[in-house]
């Protein structure tokens, strides 16, 4: 590899949540990132969702801020409405040809939407799964990024009404053709997302034939408040609200005949989520989920499932329907309730099919030469779900195997870390920093305010009398300049702003137009370009909050616009320049925990070019791995351990401390001072918690009796040939897990572990009688479902029990008594060996670590991440990260993904020697502070603390590195000592007074 020619940029193929997470991590680390997306906007499937399980966060609320971040990041370039044509070259220097499809809309588009309003062509809207409509010239959804319209040339009838409507903007150009652009990138991250299996391939379910049979995603659009029905659930044939809805799981998944032998992993949870959402709006609708195994295995999911059963009264029926047919206006579902051995038929109004996830990887295989597995997903390499068969090409998300948002985000960050590691030597070479002229000083000056009032074409002007507003605003004191413009955000207006600032010696500027949420950064930067501090810019929203929503009240809207701008003027008078803070960053990380996740994380961070201190409290590295002999799906833990340890030793930057704990910690993000128990002291910028879990020592099912073992102990037995051929081995699942009174969560790995161990027993002791007693078989991981099938072939008997019906019992002679719910009969099995799939529990060191680092533990005892879906590897406290079983139980593959992912999160923090802190933060006016400490009690980030200034004298202090500017402290402060900069009390009082003043 010719280092001189390595490109410091990365191509991310796919703009869904995986692509977004990967590109933000890469860009923050200093790599130029191109996101190429086939549709006109980034967002992907997650943007179509209403809420995400199990927390029921609104998907768009959590995504939209990231989308805006991406749009303004100096290191990210979005190439929408484009596809990859050709890829040549090698790691470090890929030559990619990209085809930009002819959208016929050029860069002058500002997303105003006037074109779409007049377009006469209606087309089924893909975003709404073809249920709603869009126009031939369209933007896929309101929060689209970039907000650029495109023409669907297939349906466009060339009436040119859109060109008329966009008068004077020159944004629609029918001469635009497909364009090929060339990119040179150092690495490629393929995150194309997924497709869904067409359920009409199982005609007995009636999809495509009956109007009220929908797929999961179609139903998601139906219940989404911003969907085509506004969130109203009704039948498409008679527009009535359904009374009963059936949800059918595993449609196409776990189905060898249909071609998808694997589990699609997310459907159980999304079906439960959808039922809960339906019940929230319409408690009277009867919801029934038909399932085989309810796979609620992730963090928070079993708890969610229990709530769905108990609080919402959702019915769960174990038995997959064989047929759905129409009878009159109803859909009849034919199924067998397997727990009652009763064939049944039940009428429903709607049926929702959880259809299988299918890979969408043809392009990857064709163009990138990436090896796919037999199901079409990307074949993982070296037991790593992020590596592909082609060097320099990484994969994340569902392209490799079905997974939910939490696991997708972890793999995406992991892909970013691996790509960044390849290009560590050229980090920052293509990064852009925005440069601005020096700021002029406004201290002591009288306010001189300039105002632009935007017509936005007719978007504002059609309802609000812009000239009347302009003439009124001109009369306000301190307004030195006021003019109306056609499009404030267009090039020409943006060039005029600095000119006007100079000419009229303005020291405050207001634009009255659309919404600050999208356009404030643009105008702030425009002002910065004129030497004005960006916080002296004020935005007045007279479009989204006024003209667009008061069409029928033009007079009132005009008065409202006047008041809105007058209030902005009142605020602008009081605005002060704000500067972001700068703090130094120690470019070193500490990883706490030397198990397999800790080792991988340390290795990955070191590969990014940073020093790592790895501490482990035992005598050797390896953690729980040392107790294993055979790992799911088919790995040798010893080999893995050796490999990891040699990687650690080979990577010079990692300093290992064994038999060591952290004794003292002080400081904050970027600047931690650490004291270790072996006497060493060090400074680090980031800390990763990679402490591991334990296996619970059961106190039920006869543990303690002879011949009763846990699964880990069984591995030991098999390795030491401790069984005899011909023995009866009975495994009991969910021992200590899924127990509402003590440990509600699912331990996630035990089903796969048990089956793998059972197969090992079968292999070594061919004449054994093996039983697995289970509640749900949760073999969701890649290869696990196939292994379950294999288990059946290997005569392993599965008996389903239900603790609400009858709990299994192991008596003192190791006779296992169980009630088989599927055959409805009691059974007794004399076991030679009883194996308990004991719960995965928080490590015994967790509580101590939690106290030492002031990091929260969740109710389940595992560490609590910042956001379960979108920030699973961060803590809310800046500078702290977590990965592996510290976050929740998971298998090796998921642990590796998280370990790689966390290294990207750390990399973002350590990449720069100095980090900028938020400018609009809270500050303490010490002379007014009485040290009451109320602020410290409401700050979620620990940014507000009390410091001692003298004997018995305490003052509040805000750490600018940690403050996020929410202002909760300022509202709590009784003396007004705490000032929320840029949103302080004076400014808000001035706004209130101004709005309410009598004109």
């Amino acid at each position: 590899m010719d280092k001189k020619r390595m490109s410091g940029s990365v191509l991310v193929i796919g703009g869904g949540i995986a692509g977004m997470a990967a590109s933000l991590d890469l860009a923050d680390m200093g790599y130029k990132t191109y996101i190429i997306e086939k549709t006109p906007s980034i967002g992907g499937t997650m943007s179509q969702l209403d809420k995400t399980f199990p927390t029921l966060d609104c998907a768009m609320c959590t995504m939209a801020p990231r989308m805006v971040d991406i749009s303004r990041h100096p290191n990210i370039e979005i190439i929408p409405y484009s596809v990859v044509e050709e890829v040549g070259g090698d790691i470090g220097n890929f030559n990619v040809k990209i085809r930009k499809m002819m959208s016929r809309v050029n860069d002058n588009c500002i997303g105003c939407g006037s074109c779409s309003e007049v377009c006469p062509v209606e087309v089924p809207n893909e975003y709404d799964e073809s249920s709603g409509i869009r126009k031939a010239i369209y933007s896929p959804f309101p929060q689209a990024v970039p907000k650029r319209y495109v023409i669907d040339t297939e349906h466009c009838i060339r009436c040119y009404k859109c060109v008329e409507a966009s008068e004077g903007k020159n944004c629609i150009d029918f001469s635009i053709k497909d364009e090929i652009i060339d990119l040179e990138v150092g690495a490629i991250i393929a995150v194309p997302g997924f497709d869904l299996w067409d359920p009409s391939l199982r005609p007995e379910l009636g999809y495509g034939e009956y109007p009220n049979v929908l797929t999961g995603i179609e139903f998601e659009r139906l219940i989404n408040a911003s969907g085509f029905t506004g969130g109203e659930i009704y039948r498409s044939d008679n527009e009535k609200t359904p009374k009963k809805i059936a949800f059918i799981q595993c449609v196409g998944s776990r189905d060898v005949k249909a071609g998808q032998p694997y589990c699609s992993r997310v459907c159980c949870m999304y079906a439960v989520k959808q039922c809960v959402l339906v019940k929230d709006h319409h408690p009277e609708i009867d919801c029934a989920i038909f399932y085989m195994d309810l796979r609620a295995f992730g963090k928070g999911q079993e708890e969610f499932y229990n709530r769905a059963k108990e609080e919402y009264g959702i019915r769960f029926i174990r038995g997959n329907p064989g047929e759905i047919y129409q009878a009159g206006t109803d859909l009849v579902v034919r199924f067998e309730d397997t727990t009652a051995s009763e064939p049944k038929e039940e009428k429903f109004d709607m049926v929702i099919l959880a259809n299988a996830i299918k890979p969408k990887n043809e392009m990857l295989a064709d163009m990138l030469g990436v090896e796919l597995d037999e199901d079409g997903f990307v074949q993982e390499q070296e037991n790593n779900p992020i590596l592909t068969s082609r060097k320099g090409v990484y994969v994340a998300g569902v392209a490799q195997a079905p997974r939910d948002i939490t696991d997708t985000v972890a793999t995406a960050s992991g892909a970013a870390a691996l790509a960044a590691a390849d290009l560590a030597s050229v980090r920052g070479t293509q990064a852009k920093e925005k440069e601005f002229p020096p700021e002029f000083d406004v201290s002591g000056q009288e306010p001189r305010i300039g105002v632009f009032i935007c017509h936005c074409g007719t978007n504002i002007a059609a309802t609000v009398d812009v000239e009347e507003v302009r003439d009124y605003i001109k009369t306000l004191p301190d307004v030195v300049f006021c003019d109306d413009v056609m499009y404030a955000c267009a090039e020409d207006s943006c060039t005029r702003i600095p000119e006007v600032i100079k000419e009229y010696k303005l020291n405050r500027f207001i634009v009255a137009s659309c919404t600050p949420r999208t356009h404030e950064p643009l105008f702030r930067e425009t002002c910065q370009g004129a030497g004005m501090n960006p916080y002296l810019f004020e935005f007045a929203n007279i479009r989204e909050n006024c003209s667009w929503v008061h069409h029928n009240y033009p007079k009132e809207a005009t008065e409202k616009a006047k008041e809105i701008i007058r209030a902005s003027v009142a605020r602008a008078r009081l605005l002060e320049p704000q500067q972001p803070g700068k703090i130094k960053v120690t470019q070193r990380a500490m990883v706490v925990g030397g198990g397999v996740s800790g080792m991988e994380a340390a290795y990955r961070i070191a590969r990014l070019g940073f020093e790592v201190v790895l501490i482990e409290r035992e005598k050797e590295l390896g953690g729980l791995l040392r107790r294993m002999h055979h790992m799911f799906p088919d790995m040798d833990p010893k080999e893995i351990l050796d490999e990891k340890i040699s990687k650690i030793e080979g990577e010079g930057k990692i300093e290992v401390h064994l038999e060591t704990k952290v004794e003292g910690l002080s400081g904050f993000v970027g600047n931690f001072d650490v004291k270790l128990s072996d006497g060493a002291e060090t400074k680090v910028g980031a800390i990763v918690i990679a402490a591991g879990c334990d296996e619970w020592k059961p106190d039920i099912y006869g543990y303690g009796q002879k011949d009763v073992y846990t699964q880990l102990e069984l591995q030991e037995l098999i390795a030491n040939d401790g069984l005899k051929d011909g023995e009866t081995v009975v495994m009991i699942q969910c021992v200590g897990s899924r127990e509402k009174e003590s440990r509600e969560y699912c331990s996630r790995v035990c089903c796969s572990e048990a089956i793998k161990n059972a197969l090992d027993v079968r292999k070594n002791y061919p004449n054994s009688d093996i039983y697995i007693l289970y509640r749900d078989i949760r073999t969701f991981a890649k290869g696990a479902e196939e292994m379950y099938r294999d288990a059946g072939l290997n005569r392993i008997h599965f008996i389903r029990y239900d603790i609400d019906v009858k709990r299994p019992n192991v008596d003192e002679n190791n006779v296992v008594h169980i009630y088989d719910t599927l055959l409805q009969e009691d059974k007794e099995i004399k076991a030679d060996k009883v194996i308990l799939s004991s719960a995965t529990v928080p490590g015994e060191g967790f509580e101590e670590l939690s106290k030492m680092f002031t990091l929260p533990l969740g109710q389940d005892g595992f560490f609590l991440e910042a956001h379960l879906k979108l920030r699973p590897l961060d803590f809310t406290s800046d500078g702290f990260f977590l990965c592996g079983t510290a976050q929740s139980p998971k298998d090796y593959i998921d642990n590796m993904a998280q370990a790689a992912g966390v290294s990207a999160r750390v990399g973002r923090l350590l990449a720069k020697k100095e980090m900028e802190t938020e400018a609009a933060i809270s500050v303490v006016k010490e002379e007014l502070c009485i040290g009451c400490g109320r602020c410290t009690k409401v700050c979620p980030y620990g940014a507000a603390t009390l410091v001692q200034r003298g004997f018995g004298v305490f003052k509040a202090n805000v750490n600018s590195a940690l403050c996020k500017g929410c202002g909760a402290c300022a509202a709590e402060c009784p003396t007004g000592a705490m000032e929320a900069r840029h949103f302080n009390d004076e400014e808000l009082y001035a706004v209130i007074d101004s709005i309410l003043q009598e004109v």
Binding site: A968, Y989, I992
Partner: protein, 154 residues
């Protein structure tokens, strides 16, 4: 006094403190989707509903606001983790105090609107306007009633 200064069939002016990440996004969405609602509301954008000091609300009423609305993220969804919980705590006691200062409780509302609920935002404005108008009628009636009992008026 509010009820005396306003004329019959007046248009109430409502001040709304709304948080940037959820309700303001919903208001924008309502705009983008062209969902129409009454022009009575004046939005004051704050970063978090936790920024809203009870003194802002009392100030607004003092300066002549007919109604005040505070709107933030649903519990558990706060962009700044717990700001909306602080808002709830403060608004709960403020709600009880306001009638003691002669402010009809129907003139004040704390609500949660998430970023995807454009329609819910629009509807909440319309319903707040109705609510304030009802408060006006109630207060007006109460004043009329008091005029007829000589000893009780102040």
């Amino acid at each position: 006094m509010w009820a005396e200064e306003r004329e019959e069939n007046f248009e109430p002016k409502i001040i709304a403190f709304i948080c940037n990440w959820c309700t303001y996004a919903a208001a924008d969405l309502a705009g983008v989707s062209r969902i129409q609602y009454l022009p009575n509301v004046r939005i004051i954008r704050v970063m978090c509903s936790g920024r809203v000091d009870p003194s802002f609300i009392v100030r607004a009423f003092l300066e002549g606001a007919d109604g005040v609305l505070v709107s933030g993220c649903w519990p558990g969804d706060c962009h700044y983790v717990s700001g909306n919980e602080e808002a709830k705590r403060r608004m709960d006691f403020l709600e009880k105090i306001l009638p003691m200062a002669g402010i009809n409780p129907k003139r004040f509302k704390l609500q949660w609107v998430s970023a995807s609920e454009g329609k819910a935002w629009a509807e909440s404005v319309d319903s707040m306007v109705e609510q304030v108008k009802t408060a006006y009628i109630e207060d007006k009636k109460k004043l009329e009633g008091l005029k007829n009992i000589p000893a009780a008026t102040a």
